[in-house]
């Protein structure tokens, strides 16, 4: 029986047929603004609020304050409280990118991982993490080692990746093969703003719905709608939302 970790995101767990496989690593890809960081914030926040699971949030992209503001802007009012009492441990870019000091941050992080205290982890973003390695071979090797370390320490992980959806031409990075699951967030401009979609492209060991679903980002975070649309980048008039 495969154990699942619920994201607690409305609609997403249904598409995933229950949640993300426990201890796996899932890559969240999308263009800037597609909602990757919000999905990750929500995953960590819900972990504490709904499932009593502690989380670690690693951000090379934002500092502590940006994250708090982002969380509060979508109604995650208890974010600061959870960070304060240690239910959510944040390593922000100021900590992670302190000059020449990523290795000491890494050491603290690895200690945290071994504590078995945390169940969820977010790495935002994979591209920044990979900057610490020199060759393609090294990047792949250490991504695999990191995912092994996370799995063995019982962490269910989301990593973000700056990458557009892959229609119709594809240039799929190797990281897509190295992780257990791939979720794409897609946004297309419309007259009135933007339409958002989510696509669970791959989940190892799991039957998932592979349609593309409309989603929205609003107060309370991401909501995924169950009525799958016949996906078309071209005509957005009959948006199913």
């Amino acid at each position: 029986m495969i154990q699942l970790t619920k994201t607690g995101i409305d609609g997403l767990d249904e598409i995933l047929n229950g949640g993300i496989v426990k201890d796996s690593t899932t890559l969240i890809s999308g263009n800037p603004g597609a909602g990757k960081s919000i999905l990750c914030l929500q995953y960590i926040y819900n972990g504490v609020e709904k499932f009593d699971e502690k989380g670690i949030y690693l951000s090379f992209e934002e500092n502590q304050k940006d994250l708090r503001q982002a969380a509060e802007s979508i109604g995650f009012d208890k974010w600061p409280e959870y960070v304060e009492n240690g239910d959510i441990k944040v390593y922000d870019k100021q900590v992670l990118l302190r000059e020449n000091d990523f290795s000491s941050s890494l050491e603290i992080l690895l200690d945290d991982l071994e504590d078995d205290e945390y169940d969820r982890l977010v790495l935002d973003s994979l591209a920044m993490f990979q900057l610490f390695f020199e060759s393609e071979k090294e990047k792949r090797t250490y991504l695999l080692k990191l995912t092994d370390i996370l799995r063995e320490n019982g962490l269910t992980t989301l990593m973000t990746n700056e990458q557009g959806a892959v229609f119709p031409e594809t240039e799929i990075g190797l990281e897509n093969y190295l992780t257990d699951g791939n979720i794409y967030l897609i946004q297309t401009p419309t007259d009135s703003g933007v339409s958002r979609y989510i696509w669970v492209a791959k989940m190892r060991k799991q039957n998932t719905e592979t349609d593309i679903y409309p989603m929205e980002i609003d107060w309370g975070g991401i909501k995924v709608h169950q009525n799958a649309s016949a996906f078309s980048m071209m005509s957005e008039e009959e948006s199913p939302i």
Binding site: S103, E107, L113, F133, I149, E152
Partner: protein
Amino acid sequence: MASAELLQTLGNKYSAEILDATDEPISAQDLSDELEIPIATCYRRIDELTEHDLLELHDNILSDDRRRIKVYRRNVDEVRVGFDDGLSVHVEERSEVTNKLDEAWRTLSDR
């Protein structure tokens, strides 16, 4: 002088091959088999390279027949030789980030 001595060590037969093969920790016996180096020479080279911090004793692992065996890993990513202001040899050590991940990953398999 130290720089010349370092170059000498690097230039000894099999030194470069040994450094090339020790990306991941490996025992002297495996090095000897893999690179077809006589075992005594292999040990001598390992000692020399270790003395100059180019190679390090990474761990004592338990072999299949439950003996402790030493495994070695290179400690260097790059060596630059300059002659501008007299002979200089700069050794670029392996990044600590990769070292730490290697170590954490290695302890997983020990559990």
